[in-house]
């Protein structure tokens, strides 16, 4: 895990530095002084060889110091920490909604295979796969956010609430709702398709036949045998789904003005905020690893076959 992250960090560090321009390019105005900007570049060490820069950076990282954001002028860890929480909560809510939508649909489609219900669900899942996130995002935003006014349209929280009150927390959730719904509506394809075919497969499994031969109601056969077993691989995907959502946050956050990691990343790219870019990519890489680890853990919890006793 560590070596992977190390390679990733080196890669991204070099690539980030290769991007034209630097954090100070953005300061160019007629009123600013080109010499002063040069001086600042010098001070920031941009003229050192890349390996010196990288060594300095990685030594810092080893000590828990990810450097300072060039644009926000705060330690990267603080900056990302704030945004990461936003994104994580948003992703979590999205996942919950996604499963709330996808599981019943996948189950229905699998159970009533080749009926009209199944066909419409499959159609929906393909359509949602084909719609670009930002198109639906904007439509939802305009419709539910502005026209109907059901949801807040930007930000993470209403400024009028005191921190850590109930209303404050609710306001936070309320702000996440629309982006999360958008995400959930669009992200269901994989889960639906997977669940559907799992259920179709499970239906013809021997243990289902055994269950039926016990004379328990078909409803129970579905709930206790087919669903449970079909959900297992989905559960294993949970970790990956979350990391997948984190990646998709880039789209959602910019549409819904939700200050999270994705938005921060886009901004850091355009302002060449190296330290933030590197840290973010690393964090995403780390989360992906964590996601797969989480998947393994979940799998080993829910699947007795790989449970380590």
């Amino acid at each position: 895990m560590i070596p992977q992250l190390l390679i990733l960090s080196l890669l991204i560090f070099i690539m980030a530095k290769q991007m034209p321009g630097d954090p100070f390019t953005g300061l160019i105005t007629p009123e600013s002084d080109a010499n002063r900007i040069e001086e600042l570049r010098e001070e920031a060490g941009f003229y050192d060889p890349w390996y010196v820069q990288y060594a300095n950076w990685i030594i810092g990282v080893a000590q828990g110091d990810f450097g300072k954001s060039y644009t926000y002028k705060v330690p990267v860890a603080d900056l990302i920490g704030e945004r990461a929480m936003n994104t994580l909560w948003l992703s979590l809510l999205s996942v919950v909604l996604l499963y709330l939508i996808a599981i019943p649909l996948g189950v229905l489609a699998g159970r009533y295979q080749d009926t009209l219900v199944d066909k419409s669900i499959v159609l929906y899942s393909f359509v949602s796969y084909a719609i670009p996130t930002f198109v639906l995002g904007l439509i939802f935003l305009f419709l539910f956010g502005y026209q109907l006014g059901w949801f807040p349209t930007a930000g993470t929280v209403d400024i009028k609430y005191e921190e850590s009150t109930k209303a404050y927390i609710w306001s936070k959730i309320y702000h996440m709702l629309l982006p999360a719904i958008t995400y959930a509506v669009l992200g269901t394809t994989g889960v639906i398709q997977y669940l559907r075919s799992e259920i179709i497969d499970s239906k013809s499994m021997d243990y289902v036949r055994t269950a039926r031969s016990k004379g328990i109601p078909i409803r129970k056969v579905y709930s206790k045998h087919i669903f449970r077993n079909s959900l297992l691989p989905i559960a294993a995907f949970f970790g990956f789904t979350i990391t997948g959502l984190l990646g998709g946050s880039i789209f959602i956050e910019s549409i819904f003005g939700y200050p999270g990691m994705g938005q921060l990343f886009m901004q850091s790219i355009s302002s060449r905020d190296y330290s933030v870019i590197t840290a973010l990519v690393l964090l995403f890489g780390f989360l992906t690893l964590l996601g797969s680890l989480l998947s393994d853990i979940i799998m080993s919890i829910v699947d007795p076959r790989i449970r380590i006793d």
């Binding site: 009123e31 349209t153 930000g155 200050p259």
Partner: protein
């Protein structure tokens, strides 16, 4: 309450846009003004005039300003503000006097130390911002202080409790538009003093609860997304009528929608002109327009900048070295059509490198390069750029193929169309212009390439905002790194020097110097101005009175609302 322009397809007529709006209705008691900050990224939240870098932070700070000088329509300091300015030309000194009885938003009195404080921060060795620049070093003792040789800046002298005397190495008329190193804002020294300069950026005094002199004071901040301002009871012009202001970040893709649905009263800062078609039909707003302090131009690479000596030198062999070629390229552009179709007249053909807002310096008599294909062809023929191989494209006088590589910046929603259109215009007169990387260049790379005199760039489309001091020294001077065309002549240096010379303290002399410079630039066309810009503001109908006129003394404390919520 919709503005002018009934003809929905035609261009907007600038004269129809008001600078002031007055809406009917009884003003309500208090109320909160809702302001949208149109940006796709969170604001940085550095609420200090000495430290901020992001213009969004500046837009926000506008509601709780620390500004001490007030300026007139031409951005020259007048005596309406907290402080007044007296210039001692002979001794290169400026004397700043502050009014008595002015209080900070926390109730503390404004002291002369508060005026000195910003200088001490900017000049400090730990200061990491851009403002420690050539101008600042003009203050006597600034360099020594910055290098740690002195504890304070020797050129700053507290004369008495209300008077500050600043000594400069040299003075120019720019001092009246708060240039030459003069600083226009106060910092609360009773708070800042206790915080080491290196730690200021992270301090609560900058991030969470800045103390200000403006009509409103910071009440609450949700980092990166919204700010709540409350009325500043101590405001020296009288407490505001509003209870407060809320500024909230709104993604640019939905800002028009936000305005239409009455989520906000106005935007912080102006809206880009390209947004105009999105908002022009809204019935709940009035659109105000204000000329911007900027211009777009077409630049020609004529030389190189030597980074070690810091001096530009011309290259007589440069592809664009022929002034005729440059002029013809100017005439060939149908900028008028672009302005009309894409900017609804909110941009106009520029004839000069000085925006018209600077009335005394702007030379309206200049003809500029208006669209004229015949003339362009004529000049090219004359100069020997003729098509010798029959491909409808002109060759150089030497008979070589002429391919002009252009750099154009991405970002503006119509940048692509505009650039393509211009290239078509040039093709129409037989000039083969191609994009230097095959596509528009993103902001960072663009400046990287243009500033480093990338050989792949022959011409470039860019824009400058001039700031309140239109002096061309920083942009066209021999030693300026921002003199991207690298055009320098002794004559030009002379003309620029005249503008900022001592003699120029005489307003007519300075105006004349500006005129001569503009004329010279027009004739030699190292850059050709293309567009002047106008900013638009959308004001919701519940705002009783709003004014974007630079000359009037409208102030935020006067704003009143006629309804509890913005009108839909």
């Amino acid at each position: 309450a919709c503005t002018g322009n009934d003809d929905s397809s035609g261009p907007a007529d600038l004269t129809k846009f008001p600078l002031v709006v007055d809406n009917e209705g009884e003003a309500i008691e208090g109320g909160t003004l809702k302001v949208a900050l149109g940006t796709d990224t969170p604001f940085q939240g550095i609420f200090s005039w000495v430290l901020y870098e992001d213009s969004y932070d500046a837009d926000i700070m506008g509601y709780a300003s620390n500004v001490i000088f007030e300026t007139d329509g031409e951005f020259l300091v007048n005596d309406q503000g907290i402080a007044s300015l007296e210039v001692d030309q002979a001794n290169n000194k400026a004397i700043v006097k502050i009014r008595e009885g002015i209080k900070w938003s926390d109730g503390q009195a404004l002291k002369i130390e508060d005026l000195i404080q910003p200088y001490l921060i900017i000049g400090h060795p730990d200061y990491e911002g851009v403002r420690y620049d050539g101008d600042f070093q003009n203050i006597i003792g600034a360099v020594d202080y910055h290098n740690g040789k002195a504890d304070t800046i020797s050129g700053l002298k507290k004369v008495d409790d209300t008077t500050l005397e600043i000594s400069f190495t040299k003075l120019s008329p720019a001092i009246f538009s708060i240039g030459d190193g003069l600083w226009g804002y106060a910092e609360p020294s009773h708070i800042m003093k206790g915080i080491p300069v290196g730690k200021l950026l992270e301090s609560d005094a900058v991030r969470k609860n800045p103390v200000t002199l403006g009509a409103f004071k910071f009440d609450k901040i949700v980092p990166g997304e919204s700010i709540q301002f409350a009325r500043n009871e101590h405001y020296w012009k009288g407490a505001a009528k509003l209870d407060g202001v809320i500024v909230k970040v709104v993604p640019t893709s939905s800002i028009a929608k936000a305005i239409e649905t009455g989520k906000y009263d106005m935007t912080a800062g102006s809206l880009p002109a390209t947004t105009y078609p999105e908002v022009r039909d809204f019935e709940n707003i009035t659109i105000l327009a204000q000329p911007e302090l900027s211009y777009s131009y077409l630049g020609f690479k004529l030389g190189k900048y030597d980074t070690t000596t810091g001096i530009s030198t011309m290259d007589p062999q440069a592809k664009m070295a022929d002034v005729k070629l440059r002029q013809a390229m100017g005439y060939a552009l149908d900028i008028e059509q672009v302005n009309e179709v894409y900017y609804y007249g909110l941009r106009s053909r520029a004839n000069s490198l000085i925006p018209p807002v600077f009335e005394s310096y702007y030379d309206e008599t200049l003809e500029g390069y208006t669209y004229n294909v015949d003339k362009a062809n004529e000049i090219l023929d004359e100069a020997g750029y003729v098509d010798t191989d029959g491909d409808d494209l002109r060759e150089t006088p030497k008979g070589e193929k002429l391919e002009i590589k252009m750099a154009s910046m991405a970002g503006d929603p119509i940048a692509e169309e505009m650039t393509t259109f211009y290239m078509q215009n040039w093709a129409d007169v037989g000039l083969n212009v191609v994009l230097s990387t095959g596509r528009l260049i993103e902001f960072n790379s663009y400046y990287d390439k243009v500033q480093s005199d990338d050989p792949e760039i022959d011409i470039f489309m860019a824009a400058w905002s001039t700031g309140t001091n239109p002096s061309p020294a920083g942009l066209y001077g021999k030693e300026s790194a921002f003199n991207f065309s690298r055009y320098t002549t002794p004559k030009l240096d002379e003309l620029i020097a005249a503008i900022d010379s001592k003699k120029a303290f005489d307003i007519d002399y300075r105006a004349n110097a500006f005129h001569e410079w503009q004329l010279y630039m027009e004739k030699n066309a190292p850059v050709i101005p293309t567009q002047f810009r106008t900013a638009i503001y959308t004001i919701n109908d519940r705002v009783k009175h709003y004014d974007v006129n630079l000359e009037t003394d409208f102030d935020l404390n006067q704003i009143e609302l006629t309804a509890e919520e913005p009108i839909k």
